[in-house]
Symmetry: C2
Subunit: 256 residues, 2 copies
């Protein structure tokens, strides 16, 4: 039975998509069966694994709005154990169209329900907002990973995200749990980065992954080749860090 994880942060550009793609691909390399769902109209996770969002006949939009079966929108990727549900800009209209749906918060959860037996993990990449697409992802999830760029604006928003998760837990999904905060684009030469890390530690001790993802140019180059870092530059600092993170993730999810 798959464990569903949402990669979310209202702040933009903090490494949500990069984390979703690379966690998924290292889990697949460790023989876990993974379904990656792109819930962002930008379709970055989709093109980051080499699928062209513009060419898609059916995407997650069709599942959410027209009730198309999830199995009909699942695509294989360059990894054996990694399947993908793509997104494209059609999804931007879904937030407005979902409003009038009585069960507007649980549509994704219902769509995934029958397929949890075919995977070990479902990873959901969220857009940078707290609208209905992100709400759907949180209601469908059991665990949440919060990528955090170690900068001031990103720090400001964490408290509010914890409150939002609290609200979701109380009204829709009692099982939801924050697995942790993952520091991304960390540059140890920058004072600000270290100050933010210290600040987060004082307020959110116990919610922080041990692995820190360094700033690594290879990570930002990989998507232009449609490849996860594991295939694009497996020896780079970014690849090593995401490999460590997926091992840490497995040790938490699958304690021996």
């Amino acid at each position: 039975m798959a464990y569903v994880v949402s990669i979310m942060n209202q702040k933009g550009g903090v490494g949500k998509t990069t984390t979703a793609i690379n966690l998924s691909s290292y889990l697949a390399l460790r023989n876990r069966k993974v379904l990656l769902i792109d819930m962002d109209p930008q379709g970055n996770a989709t093109c980051g694994v080499g699928i062209d969002p513009k060419n898609m006949e059916l995407t997650v939009y069709d599942t959410l709005i027209s009730g198309v079966n999830l199995i009909d929108v699942i695509h294989p990727t360059s990894f054996d154990h990694l399947h993908m549900v793509p997104a494209n800009q059609d999804l931007a209209g879904a937030e407005i169209e979902l409003i009038s749906n009585v069960s507007r918060e649980t549509v994704l959860k219902e769509a995934i329900k029958n397929y949890k037996d075919s995977y070990d993990y479902v990873i959901i990449d969220c857009p940078p907002s707290l609208g209905l697409l992100t709400i759907n992802s949180l209601v469908a999830a059991e665990g949440i990973v919060i990528p955090l760029q170690c900068e001031y604006f990103a720090l400001e928003g964490i408290g509010h995200m914890f409150q939002t998760v609290e609200l979701i837990r109380d009204s829709f999904n009692p099982a939801i749990k924050i697995l942790g905060i993952l520091y991304t684009m960390f540059d140890k030469r920058t004072n600000l980065n270290q100050q933010v890390v210290d600040e987060v530690k004082t307020h959110f001790e116990g919610y922080i992954f041990k692995t820190m993802i360094p700033r690594s140019v290879r990570l930002s180059e990989a998507p232009s080749h449609g490849l996860p870092i594991a295939l694009y530059s497996p020896e780079s600092a970014g690849a090593v860090a995401y490999q460590m993170f997926s091992d840490e993730f497995i040790s938490i999810m699958e304690p021996i």
Copy 2:
């Protein structure tokens, strides 16, 4: 009569808020009267000029949803000629609440209408999405500045943004114009950055500002002090670049 500019990009973390704050403050230093409107529920532009979003009684939300007069939500800042309309997380609910409003796309435009005579420029900071908050900002605007991080995912989204502006021009706002694409966080040592710049030039020649904003740590430190770069570190590379950008902006807006 104020000229209204929206700083927008669906992609997250590309420097929209940093551009909105620093363009506004250098225009104010050049004695233009500026109103900065924060249309992002994160409230980053608000705290970036030293106002605490959590302490606000009235914000842009109250203007959009409860019809509170704009004059009652305008706050002074540390600059003589810079006023601010703050935002906080209440705004996240506005997208859903605006849906049932017959004139849901023009609410901001109507709210600004009576105050355009008191300012030379109105600068609007948009959230990282194409939802109703951004649509309202585009309908209210005459010009658009698109900050662009020189990375692959940011590049992917530009075409779609031009299409969105086209749609707004055809249905709501015939006067709207893309003033230009502003390269942000540019690092000339990174091949990817240069590749993206070359790619943008081939497709969007004529829409690109001459000024490029370099990656500069001082720019990311300034918000934690609640100060625009002009007050935090006026000699830094980031400050010099935003000063040049505001001069380029003035030369376009106010040709001699």
